[in-house]
């Protein structure tokens, strides 16, 4: 049948539904006429669409039906009123029950919303760049003898330049490298941790708005751009453009522009950007093109429509063509992979990231936990409602006898679940709003609740609708399906309806809770294990002062004065200068090192720490053979000490063979004078790395001060005074080494805390459900208990009777949850070099804990039942 030239019926129905009879004639008539006109001019499809628009546009308040008009014509509205009234009565009749119900749902919703906000924030990283779909970062893998040695987030300097000159797909490239900068303006001196050199394409590629100035200045040496907040830090309200700041006490840089702060939800952070030409001027023209110098982030802007995978596979051939011969000579290889900009935050943890990135797996895992929690909460509602169904059965029976239809009964129970869900979601939003700042702090992210955002509306509305339907549907269908005769004659008993389902759901709750507790327990055990292991290095009572950024030819003298002055203090045990301290990977990464007697193809890569004679004593490193550095030897600077891993890497297993061998290191020869035991330079997430120690007495990066002090603040004051006296014009900056070392576990600690909180919430909800369920079951069996007590049952036997059913389910849950938890946690723990073993007690302790919690919950009710006077129970009829 040809129906196209009449307006869609459902839209008409919508109009008729809202429009008052006073206006319906003219409005609908005019609209129909207009519709047929549109069909002629624009076609039926468009006309139908516009028809909907028109109907919506006509919806003005004066045209709406009045309340009377609504209720007069439709039975539905009157019934809705009645449903609300009966729902309210049912809810207020059993207040404790209702509160448990609402509380459970609220907690579930809060957990779900918090996690959703967190997860959304994680996925929102770098989405603000307008060209984000065409920006890629080059990740660089270096191979040595066929083995992957380093995965760089910041690769070699020349690659971007080489690619743009050889591939038409590459539109722009951005090169960024860090500058350890101490910046001075007049009397203000700061150490800048996020200062970089970059080329002018930076602002073409990334969507960072310029507030003042011109980006082209980044193509000239000694020009720089500054972020808004950093400008404020140095210049207050003065205009920063045209001002000069002093970089590391040596060179003046001209501020040519100001850019808006890079948003926190970016994997990048940069407070100052110096022109790359400056870097080239300082380090020579080679720094523009070489492939041997790593530590440069390279971002590529590809032409619109380029498939990056297609482009990526062309790179190896290009690398072979350019550097194949050279690489073969050293038995090395280099590989470049493209990371889509928006995937960096969750999927990248390589050498020299801008800042610690998020963890994609942990984020997905957390989201799964969120879904579990909300399901547990809904399960509670279903459980409690079906358990209560017997009480409602009589009401249903009477309604049915009076002519109520199944559909109406379903509606009634859906209205009831909507009411409960509506109350819960409102409380939940309020709690989330209040608790979010604390959660932001805990998770280390700036989380905000935006009431106007689409996500928020979708989330709350979705939770409400899905929750109402899901949790309301089962009780609604069960209850409406009762046969009135059997209800009213009292044949229905509590256990017949929904028994199996209820048991299944309770078991599911137990399983989910147990997996979460085991997870939390394992995370904490692993953390505890890592932090309590002997590091092989003594980091206690150590205060590390960052070395001066700006020094001159007098530095060696200044350092000696500083050391001498401090060592005179009674509460300072030692002062050691070095290029690295424990707690981070040494930044000095040296390739091409080999025994002098061996060929170039046997060279390897090592991490190097330069230190004075004090360092090994102060940190109490274990010497296995040979000797440690001593300042009395005049040629000590030509000597090195190896750790065990380095000894193995260079090809010896016996220290005697290694000692006194000469090694080739960047054009010089060094003699091996000692071997120290492997110690944990980094966290226990990583295994030992081959380290070479060099004697560099005037190392400039860190001074480790071992203190033994009763008045720490006095000691710190003292150190600061001496520091400022020795290194005039440098800012004093220090940290405690044990804190610094534990920083490495920050991500795990945050994960553990977040996990712990949500595990507790899940258990709390499960407990609430169980509490409600037992209390109801106990009430149902009041009479039975009364009879049993009269016949001589003891308190214990009554309690056993009531808890038996749950105990069985709990055992079943433990049996199912253990392998699941084992599988999940084995995977998690595999990411650590040093792991706890997942022995039986890892599962038994959480299980016992859960059993205790649940038994206590159940006992509160059963105890009450067991203690009650049987006469009270039996006299009711």
């Amino acid at each position: 049948m040809y129906q196209k030239n009449t307006p869609p019926e459902w839209i008409d129905a919508l109009l008729e539904w809202y429009c008052s009879s006073k206006y319906i004639d003219e409005v609908q008539g005019d609209l129909h006429e207009w519709f047929s006109r549109r069909v002629e001019h624009q076609g039926a499809k468009k006309a139908r669409l516009f028809y909907l628009l028109d109907v919506v546009r006509f919806c003005r308040s004066y045209r709406l039906k009045s309340y009377d008009e609504f209720t007069q014509n439709s039975n539905n509205a009157a019934m809705l009123k009645n449903y609300l009234k009966t729902s309210w009565r049912a809810l207020s009749k059993n207040k404790a029950f209702t509160i448990i119900n609402i509380l459970g749902l609220t907690i579930g919703m809060v957990a779900f919303m918090m996690i959703s906000i967190y997860v959304e924030n994680e996925y929102d990283y770098d989405q603000f760049h307008t060209q984000k779909d065409n920006i890629y970062r080059l990740k660089q893998n270096r191979y040595n003898k066929g083995e992957l040695t380093t995965e760089w987030a910041a690769g070699c300097t020349g690659i971007g330049f080489a690619l743009i000159n050889n591939f038409p797909e590459v539109k722009e490239f951005v090169r960024i490298t860090k500058s350890s900068a101490m910046i001075a303006y007049e009397d203000k001196v700061f150490k800048e941790d996020h200062a970089y050199y970059t080329n002018s394409a930076f602002f073409k590629v990334f969507s960072i708005p310029i507030i003042q100035g011109d980006t082209s200045v980044l193509s000239k040496a000694y020009n720089m751009m500054i972020s808004e907040s950093t400008a404020k830090k140095y210049f207050g309200d003065e205009d920063p453009v045209g001002k000069t700041i002093r970089h590391n006490g040596a060179r003046d840089y001209n501020i040519a522009g100001v850019y808006q702060d890079i948003p926190t939800n970016s994997h990048m952070s940069a407070d100052m950007l110096f022109s790359f030409e400056t870097f080239v001027d300082l380090s020579g023209p080679n720094s523009r093109t070489t492939w041997d110098w790593d530590g440069f982030y390279t971002y590529l802007l590809l032409e619109e429509g380029t498939d990056y995978k297609d482009f990526e596979v062309k790179i190896p051939e290009f690398v072979q063509k350019e550097k194949g011969e050279e690489l073969k000579q050293y038995n090395a290889d280099i590989e470049f992979l493209l990371q889509p900009l928006t995937s960096i935050h969750l999927n990248s943890d390589y050498m020299m990231e801008f800042k610690p990135n998020g963890n994609g797996e942990a984020t997905s895992f957390l989201f799964i936990v969120a879904i579990f929690i909300i399901i547990i909460a809904w399960v509670n509602y279903v459980n409690l409602s079906t358990a209560k169904s017997v009480e409602r059965a009589r009401e249903v029976g009477v309604r049915k006898v009076m002519g109520s239809q199944k559909g109406q009964l379903i509606k009634q129970f859906l209205v009831e679940s909507s009411l409960v869900n509506f109350i819960a979601i409102n409380i939940a939003v309020l709690i989330v709003f209040l608790a979010l700042p604390a959660f932001s702090h805990l998770s280390g992210r700036a989380l905000v609740l935006d009431f106007t955002s689409q996500t928020f509306l979708l989330m709350t509305f979705g939770l409400f609708v899905i929750g109402s339907l899901l949790s309301g549907a089962y009780p609604a269908f069960v209850l409406s399906g009762f046969v009135p005769v059997s209800i009213l004659s009292g044949k229905l008993s509590a256990s017949t309806k929904g028994g199996l389902l209820r048991k299944g759901l309770v078991t599911f709750q137990f399983i989910a809770s147990l997996v979460l507790i085991v997870g939390t327990y394992v995370v904490y055990s692993q953390l505890d294990y890592m932090r309590s292991q002997d590091l092989g290095v003594d980091i206690s009572q150590t205060l590390v002062v960052r070395g001066p950024g700006a020094v001159d030819s007098l530095y060696s003298n200044q350092l000696n004065i500083f050391k001498d002055q401090l060592e005179q203090e009674s509460d300072i045990l030692s002062v050691a200068a070095s290029t690295s301290v424990p707690g981070a990977q040494p930044q000095w990464n040296a390739g091409g090192i080999r025994l002098l007697s061996k060929g170039e193809d046997e060279a390897n890569q090592y991490r190097v720490i330069g230190m004075d004679a004090e360092f090994m004593k102060s940190y109490d490193l274990d010497l296995i053979d040979g000797r440690i550095f001593d300042e009395k030897f005049s040629t000590e600077e030509n000597n090195v000490i190896f750790n065990e891993s380095a000894m193995k890497l260079i090809g010896f297993s016996d220290t005697q063979q290694l000692l006194n061998k000469d090694i080739y290191f960047w054009g010089d020869t060094f003699n091996i004078v000692g071997v120290v035991k492997d110690y944990h330079q980094e966290s226990l997430k990583k295994s030992f790395e081959p380290l070479i120690f060099r004697y560099i007495p005037n190392s400039q990066n860190f001074y480790s001060v071992k203190v033994q002090s009763s008045d720490l603040s006095y000691t710190i004051d003292k150190i600061e005074q001496e520091y400022k006296a020795a290194f005039t014009g440098n800012p004093f900056d220090f940290f405690f080494l044990d804190d610094h070392f534990n920083e490495q576990y920050k991500a795990e600690m945050q994960f553990g805390k977040v996990f712990g909180i949500f595990a507790s919430l899940a258990i709390l909800i499960a407990c609430l459900g169980l509490f409600g369920l037992t209390s109801y079951m106990t009430v149902l069996r009041t009479k039975e208990i009364g009879v049993r007590k009269v016949l001589g049952a003891t308190l214990l036997s009554v309690m056993t009777l009531l808890s038996k059913d749950f105990a069985k389910l709990m055992l079943l849950a433990i049996l199912i949850a253990t392998p699941i938890a084992w599988y999940v946690m084995t995977n998690w723990i595999a990411g650590f070099a040093y792991q706890i073993s997942l022995t039986w007690w890892v599962f038994v302790i959480p299980s016992m804990l859960l059993i205790v919690i649940l038994l206590v919950t159940v006992s509160i009710q059963t105890l009450k039942a067991g203690l009650s006077n049987p006469v009270d129970a039996l006299k009711h009829e």
Binding site: I24, D25, E26, V27, Q28, G29, D30, L31, H32, E33, W34, S36, R37, D54, R57, F58, R60, Y62
Partner: protein, 107 residues
Amino acid sequence: MKGTYLGEFEELVLLSVAVLDGQAYGVSITDVIEDQANRSVTISTVHNVLYRLEKKGFVESYLGGATKERGGRNKRLFKITAEGQETLSYAKDLRNRMWGLMPVLKG
């Protein structure tokens, strides 16, 4: 003539009602405006203006004239009132007077 201010679009609608002489309702008025002023208007806007004019007493209305095309629904037909007529001519006079006051530009 206090309180009888006519908006530009109101004036247009009121003029159309007068032009259509008893045959004015939502669709026909929209047609006239689209033809004469050559601008596209939505039918809901016209309806809203008509009710406003009726409230001010410039037009009066009655139901009638159902057609098959309208799904058997009545039209609300609008007629201009004496007061409406007066307002229109006042607006026209005002314009003429002010045009007369304009100095004639030379060159």
